[in-house]
């Protein structure tokens, strides 16, 4: 019997069967979606005012949420990566919560914090600030669910690179800000970029928390996922648009993931 000692490795060949089943489970539903697309009306469906408004809203809020995630997520990842083992474990668990919770729970939680019937929301309301059911609420909901993707990706990257280069830089007289800018962040760049891209992809796909916390007002809080849901339930834009928008979201997601892959391939070990 001959063993090929190349990249094929020693995986039992029979495992190819469940692997193909698993792959089919992922690929077939998406193919079914593509088969349902009405190519003749695709362009008109995507460029209808309702669809464009949902698409524009998704992209704008997704970008703002990603910027917010960078502003608070990078410091958070730095703190976790350089914290002691126990506090890092605790912080990491806290950051992971939105990943494992159903997003709807996040929406309810946000509503209970900012809603008019809550103490904090009540104070804000007295100042004339209303958060739920605004475009701002969409951004907050997206930030809530997308933040873990950035923090965990960057934290992993920071932890892998370690502190040896930072110590060397410090011994040569570099200040903390200089080290952060010239050593720490460039070394962790692959993780940071992957985190940012995943964060953006998650933000524009957000549905559950947005539906509860921001509602479904066309042009104000109706993002692409909500427009797809509304259309599929027979109201608002047509079902053709629902399929067209789904395809657009799918293409965007695949594109984003391929971008991450491209960056990772170039990343230093």
């Amino acid at each position: 019997m001959t063993h090929r000692r190349d990249a094929g490795g020693f995986v039992p060949r029979i495992l190819a069967v469940p692997a193909v089943v698993g792959l089919a489970l992922l690929v077939l539903p998406l193919s079914a979606l593509v088969l349902r697309v009405e190519w003749s009306t695709l362009w008109a469906d995507i460029t209808s005012p309702e669809a464009l408004s949902a698409l524009g809203l998704s992209l704008v809020t997704g970008l703002i949420a990603t910027v917010l995630c960078v502003l608070v997520g990078v410091p958070l990842a730095l703190v976790i990566a350089r914290a002691g083992r126990r506090s890092a474990a605790l912080l990491r668990a806290l950051v992971t919560i939105p990943l494992v919770l159903p997003p709807m729970v996040g929406g309810v939680a946000l509503l209970f914090l900012f809603g008019r019937t809550s103490w904090f929301g009540g104070i804000l309301a007295e100042w004339g600030i209303r958060v739920p059911f605004t475009t701002g609420a969409v951004v907050l909901a997206q930030t809530f669910v997308a933040l873990p993707f950035l923090v965990l990706a960057l934290e992993g990257s920071l932890r892998t690179t370690g502190t040896a280069y930072e110590q060397a830089a410090a011994s040569l007289g570099a200040g903390r800000w200089t080290i952060l800018r010239r050593v720490t962040l460039p070394l962790a760049a692959p993780g940071l970029i992957a985190g940012i891209v995943l964060c953006f992809a998650r933000a524009i796909g957000e549905f559950g928390a947005t539906a509860l916390f921001a509602g479904n007002a066309p042009g104000v809080t109706q993002t692409m996922p909500l427009a797809i849901y509304t259309a599929f339930n027979g109201a608002g834009v047509s079902q053709g648009t629902a399929v067209a928008l789904s395809l657009l979201l799918l293409v965007t997601a695949v594109g984003v993931l391929l971008l991450v892959r491209a960056w990772r391939a170039e990343a230093p070990r």
Partner: protein, 270 residues
């Protein structure tokens, strides 16, 4: 490595910016609507109204309120009626209680209007509706009456009991002594209709007005349906950002012109 990733990021940003740039022009393409507006005769009696008007309305009012809003904008060209938020009345009531920025709320039943009674200025009944059994074109499940919905071989979808169409369905089924095990409970009536129209369900209970003009769906009027009537209230909300326009819109809905629109779409008299 860094240069390429920067370039790719810049490219992605550009692409995104390009797409975003399309959005306002798409939304702003309502300019062609303005032409039709200017030809409409102004309403002499009404005071000068302006600003934005936000309407939250029951899902079953979709067609009717889109039409009413358009007529209202023709009479008051300076008022911009925002795209109307349609959903199950209980969802809308919850959102309004939590501070959703609505000027007008139209519910498909009085119970959900009561939910927001603290915020409702003066609810007025403006329409009524009854239930029908909706079946896909050709009636593949051979549904004949309410009792056939109890057949476990049929896929039946209903509205959730919290939303008006669900509450009415429950009343109707109870009154006729029919026990149904729905395959799905939907949050609003359009979701039930969409599943029947797509052929995914053999039958569903929806409003008589929902099936008017829908090609893929046939309606069966069940026994006892005329006894279960939903009455639709509409109100200005105390928090309305534009109370004058809101009051004018409510007045328009209950006016003879508004009632004619509703009657044409199959709604019953208040």
């Amino acid at each position: 490595m860094r240069r390429r990733s920067t370039a790719a990021l810049a490219l992605a940003t550009l692409a995104v910016a390009g797409l975003v740039g399309c959005a306002p022009s798409g939304a702003g393409s309502s300019g062609d609507l303005d032409l039709s507006r200017s030809s409409a005769p102004p309403d002499n009696a009404a005071p000068e109204l302006s600003g934005e008007l936000s309407i939250y309305a029951a899902a079953s009012l979709g067609t009717a309120f889109d039409e009413l809003a358009e007529l209202f904008e023709q009479r008051h060209p300076s008022v911009d009626v925002r795209p109307i938020v349609y959903d199950g009345s209980s969802t809308l009531a919850r959102q309004i209680l939590e501070g959703a920025p609505a000027d007008v709320f139209a519910s498909a039943d009085e119970k959900n209007m009561d939910t927001v009674s603290a915020l409702a200025v003066a609810p007025e009944i403006f329409a009524s509706n009854t239930l029908v059994i909706a079946v896909p074109a050709g009636n593949p499940g051979d549904v004949t009456d309410l009792a056939s919905l109890a057949d476990p071989a049929l896929t039946v979808v209903l509205c959730a009991p919290e939303v008006p169409c669900g509450a009415a369905s429950e009343r109707l089924l109870d009154a006729e002594g029919v026990a149904v095990r729905p395959a799905s409970i939907e949050q609003n009536v359009t979701a039930v209709l969409a599943k029947v129209a797509a052929g995914e369900a053999d039958a569903g209970l929806v409003y008589a007005t929902d099936v008017v003009g829908v090609a893929d769906v046939e309606a069966i009027v069940p026994e006892g349906a005329p006894d279960v009537v939903n009455r639709y209230p509409v109100t200005v909300l105390t928090d309305a950002a534009n109370p004058d326009a809101a009051a004018a819109f409510v007045a328009f809905v209950v006016s003879a012109d508004g009632q004619a629109v509703l009657r044409d779409l199959g709604f019953g008299a208040p």
